[in-house]
């Protein structure tokens, strides 16, 4: 049991930090919104530096990929990094250096980072389907120039998908849940950091707004959500997306995301709704990720059913001696 980073993890995150400082961040995210694009430059840099291999390398694993995924989300990377580095290896058993997107059958709805995806993993009941996709398979969705780019799969494209076999559906669902939790953890952290910084600076009634107790207590609650989301996401990744832990992590993170969206915008006032102020870069992405796979309600129900109706699962967490 050790919550701090080991030496190797620290080195990996330090070099990621350097890379993200150069390639990601607010300015870059605003630029990408203007062009409606996916960040191919960042993607290539992450791949070149070997970050895609984290979950499969000999001295690292899914936890390391999750640690990196949290940072990429927090620093606003417009990339399918976590789906490629964490989800795909869990489902396929190997790393595919491809832009990966995730969808649920019948895959008619908007897909996060769909339009540029090379590999689409589709959850269809008990099965996962894999579909190689190109630009012609997608129709861009008008996302009001906010959040991750979204696209819909063209009718009929799913017919080309191949099944990954019975049971692969549950694996995809669990891995996707960890990805949702990782995304939310990074995005919540980023939104909270911006909000805290703003409320320390912004003065009304002759004092920083952040010195009012009514405001402080609301921010403290958000800190609880940010920290809880982060540690549960990391633990679920560490346990290789064990089904109950994945559902629990997603339930906490996606449930918290809703609150973080509302509170960060409320606490910012009008400026939080402008396009020039960066809050939306985190919050709209949060709303998107938060709604995937049925949203918090489905994660919560699954977490409850997986835990309380299976004594052997419950015993992993609660097994009193008497």
């Amino acid at each position: 049991m050790q919550f701090s980073l080991n030496e190797h993890q620290r080195q990996v995150l330090d070099s990621l930090e350097t890379l993200l400082t150069r390639r990601a961040g607010r300015e870059r995210a605003l630029e990408l919104i203007a062009t409606g694009g996916y960040d191919h430059t960042l993607d290539a840099a992450l791949a070149d530096a070997g970050f895609l291999q984290l979950s499969q390398a000999s001295d690292t694993g899914p936890l390391d990929a999750a640690l990196a995924g949290v940072e990429v989300a927090r620093r606003l990377g417009v990339t399918s990094f976590t789906a490629s580095a964490l989800v795909a290896p869990m489902v396929l058993g190997e790393v595919r250096e491809a832009r990966v997107a995730l969808a649920e059958a019948p895959a008619a709805g908007p897909v996060r980072l769909g339009g540029t995806a090379e590999l689409l993993l589709v959850l269809k009941g008990d099965e996962a389907l894999a579909l190689e996709t190109g630009p012609d398979d997608w129709i861009a969705v008008d996302n009001n120039r906010a959040g991750y780019p979204l696209a819909r799969l063209r009718d009929g494209a799913l017919a080309r998908a191949r099944s990954l076999g019975p049971g692969s559906g549950a694996r995809l669902r669990d891995a996707w849940r960890v990805e949702i939790a990782v995304q939310c953890a990074g995005l919540i952290q980023g939104a909270l950091e911006l909000t805290v910084a703003y409320l320390r600076d912004r003065r009304q009634f002759g004092r920083p707004i952040g010195s009012f107790q009514a405001v402080q207590h609301r921010l403290a609650r958000l800190a609880l959500l940010a920290e809880g989301a982060r540690w549960l996401a990391l633990e679920a990744a560490y346990r290789d997306a064990r089904p109950d832990l994945a559902a629990t992590a997603a339930a906490f993170a996606a449930g918290g995301a809703d609150t973080v969206f509302r509170e960060c915008h409320q606490l910012h006032g009008a400026i939080g709704f402008t396009r020039e102020y960066p809050l939306h870069l985190w919050t709209i992405r949060l709303l998107q990720v938060q709604r995937e796979l049925g949203g918090p309600t489905r994660h919560r129900r699954d977490a409850a059913r997986m835990t309380f109706t299976a004594p052997e699962v419950l015993a992993l967490s609660v097994a009193p001696a008497v």
Binding site: P208, Q216, A220, A251, D302, P320, V322
Partner: protein, 379 residues
Amino acid sequence: MEFDWTPQDQAYRAELQAYIRKMLPAGWRGYDQKDRAAYKTAAKAFASGMAEHGWLTQNWPKDYGGAECSAWRQAILGEELTPIGEPRGSQYMNVNWIGPAIMRFGTEAQKQYHLRRIAAGDVFWCQGFSEPDAGSDLGSLRTRAVRDGDDYVVSGSKIWTSHVGIADFCILLVRTGAPDSRARGISVLLVPMGHPGFSTRHIASLAGDESHYELFFDEMRVPVSWRLGEEDQGWEVVRWALQYERVGSTQYQRAALQLAETAEAAIANGAFEDPEMQSRFGEAWAACQAARMLTLRVYDLREAGSPPTADSNLSRLISTDCLKMVAQLSAEVLGLEALDHEGPAVDAIRNAALAVAAGAAEIQLDRIAMDFLGLPRGK
């Protein structure tokens, strides 16, 4: 970063569980505290039995009755004993923070006298902190200790003190500085119960028979050698101790066990079939698991020798949130049955009281805002 228990830690947990099964009947969920003598005898037997096996203070130094294991042993102890109703009685406080505070701030004589007793599992403590006009605002406490030669003369009173009926010693906060010296003029005294000038009054409480007492000090003379730490420097002791008090009783695991038992009842009576109910169970479960991680984080910092951080406030706040969520679910699942203390219900009143103890939830929020997020102080 890794989240596995070592094989040694797992073996320790297994030994502990076997001992619990040997000592307590199936389904045991706490002592009847009405008969104080019987309660104290049973809790002492349980704790001293643990001590004989070397299981009570494993993370302490060998010199003071420990085995120099990691702080994680403390977390395991809490996870096993808090949820079922704490068979050590109030001795969890000794092991979690009173002993460690004496180890850190005490004189050699104090260490020799107190730590052996604590490690042997046959001494009970209470903490004289809150006063009628100093609850959440602990820094305004007024119980005076006036120096007179080699003694202090203590006058004043404490309130809301728990575990007094079985206590042998009190860790007492007194004002040695000027009346307005706030946190800069507080000292800590280690006083045996029943010392001349020291009297107590039981306060009947909804939160349990041993929950609330008053302590009175009528010109109580105590030797200066009973002071823990430097004169007027008691706040540092308190700050250091409180971060462990907040995580000391492992409330996340208590909430998780209560939730599991409530879910069992909900499955049995059909309430669990309601999808809305499932969602709420899942939400509460996720909160319990987040509380677990945030509490283990505090043990991790302790193991790393970190000074006090606001992580303990996060842990305490989310743990008491969980207890309230569970109590509400229990009430909804069981209806009026939830008010039968003999039944499977969660004690909603005690759960609510825990959000007041060890610093009210509002104080935890203050500390998180200022110490964790770095927000500016108000006027």
